[in-house]
Symmetry: C2
Subunit: 419 residues, 2 copies
Amino acid sequence: MSAPKATGTMIDAERLWTSLMDLARVGATPKGGVRRITLTDADRQGRDLFVRWAREAGLTLRTDEVGNIFARRPGSDPAALPVVIGSHLDTQPSGGKFDGAYGVMAGLEVVRTLNDDGIATRAPIEIVSWTNEEGSRFVPVMMGSGVFAGVFRAELALAAKDGDGIRAGDALKRIGFAGEGGAHPIDAYFEAHIEQGPVLEETRTTIGVVQGALGQRWFDVRFTGQDAHAGPTPMDLRRDALIAASRLVLEVNRIARTYPDYARGTVGHMQVRPNSRNVVPGEVQMSVDLRNANDATLRAMAQDLGTTAQALADECQVEAVVQEVVYFPPCHFAPDLVDSVRECAQALGLRHCDIVSGAAHDAVYLARVAPTAMVFVPCEGGISHNELESARPEDLAAGCNVLLRAVLARAGVREADAR
Amino acid sequence: MSAPKATGTMIDAERLWTSLMDLARVGATPKGGVRRITLTDADRQGRDLFVRWAREAGLTLRTDEVGNIFARRPGSDPAALPVVIGSHLDTQPSGGKFDGAYGVMAGLEVVRTLNDDGIATRAPIEIVSWTNEEGSRFVPVMMGSGVFAGVFRAELALAAKDGDGIRAGDALKRIGFAGEGGAHPIDAYFEAHIEQGPVLEETRTTIGVVQGALGQRWFDVRFTGQDAHAGPTPMDLRRDALIAASRLVLEVNRIARTYPDYARGTVGHMQVRPNSRNVVPGEVQMSVDLRNANDATLRAMAQDLGTTAQALADECQVEAVVQEVVYFPPCHFAPDLVDSVRECAQALGLRHCDIVSGAAHDAVYLARVAPTAMVFVPCEGGISHNELESARPEDLAAGCNVLLRAVLARAGVREADAR
């Protein structure tokens, strides 16, 4: 082992950008976004393109039982475990060109660069595309990485049904990506990603050195009152579920704004019933998403939510049911890998800062089974999960160069290639 | 003209109830409600049943160009205009057995009673079933009575399309109820209806003497902010449309509770976009329904709504568009008919009170072209537009007896029949 030859090696920014734009044509929407919902025909086309590019780069393909695709570049040390780089190719229903796609294409660009420069690494390098990170069609989210990390079993993931009652396993077979076998041991995991938030852009920072991810607690809340005709029912005789729900929206906002440790709170989904203009709503189903970097603070926020929802229900004479549906504890990435990412950004003279990911990523699951780190780059207006999602070619290239260096530092290079 | 023979004439409570229950089998739902959406096969079957019963009662049928069905019992005075009794046979998608059906069946019961007792009236009596009162499939609501009263033209009504793009005119032809001709002059209009609110039941009152109907102003409100990922977007950098919408829900409630003159305010419909659990909502579309017995107060409420929505939008850094989509001025029924209804309830020894209808009814349009009155009876829990809608046979019979008396007082009886 020695210092990597890569001090002089840089990725091809234009090739990275072209690959991203070519990939974005798969499932392209009229407004410039991408609709490549997991395990659909569009997802298959995206996967096919990645597989073709990986083969062209000389990589060996393997698809596991939940459709995760691994593209392997061998290392010089037969005993070494692979250093894995990746993310996901599926998008939200109205998604953008970069969320997920950037991490996979950055991995491909790292390998292409090593090929061009004839650099052999000691450890193998694998690019991975995880199945169904977004979770918009099949729950659980981060399905592929969750199975890989042993968070839940493959059978459970494949049994998930979409809104039309189609099983994930059947959808996977239909697109031809139902492989075999489960997880294999890995040495480390790196994921490059757009920030999906506004912090880097606001602070004019190119590289986010990701410390970990906020913990999350997701809730389903249902308020049940009584449908009533909007005209003949005096205000005092109503049991309006939407009044309680609206008050809870504001209370979630209050909780997120008053607790410390990067507290966030969102009501993103609300279903009013019967949802008719002239009927007092008898039922509202809503989601609450609470996030925090500190597990104890997150727990306190959740308790506040529960108490508040019940108090509102009593005041509004409706019933409240609060059910926790998802819990991710706060995640802390491997300090040595995080330090390495920071040093690589520093060495490249890039403006960088430490940051905590507000979103979950496949990396959050991978961190449970291997040393893990992430590299964030800015995206325009912090906008993501949106057709307007945008990132600058130079920022994407900078993040990919940091990734290249950090991966080489971890994988090591053959003595012959070291300078 | 003389005092009606009807001092001794009473309707057949059991026959009225049986007719209502027989009719309720047309479009019956498993939960005990009725789904007889306008101009569907179920509506046709309901109309067919009414037509059969009307023929059996010796009435002469006429269907006009928008499918309103008139069933006429001749009077002794060839020059007299008809006294009309009616309501509608269509229901909400999840409707009940009584809303609308009661008014038509009560009309039928009045005529059957006159037949049984051999009472001839001076003026003809007509039972009417108005097309598409509910408006849940085709807009405008109260379509048939609206055309009859000259509120809008038949061509406009027939050109209305449902969610599948089917024209009302085509649907009407398909069920075989596209007749000919428009409105004819009438002497007066009476409509019996369940209250659809809780006031009569709460005050243990059998007969509501309806003074008129609340004016209504309906609005579509759209708040537009910016979709953002719920995790990575700090609270201060959000433009959350649902925060503004939730605050407006509470402001509508405040408006309805602070203005005088039977003020009511309801947000019954809300559509959150993209309505995804982990996306800060970038858009909310919502309805606002304001009602008041006083037109000037209603106008002030509407102005308050507009000002408040804009102020909230500014505070929440979102855009607001407030569009008025429906305006019904408050309606005042004919004082002499209203007095007559009160006197008939009094004469029958029924507990009664003056009441203002919170809902619009066909009677509201009829009041524009003829002296009009309504008779309300209690419904269980004030519940309507719901499969649980329920009313007691004795209350329905009481309302029908009041109707019979009031109709006879207006139509007059042949000298020979007077006692």
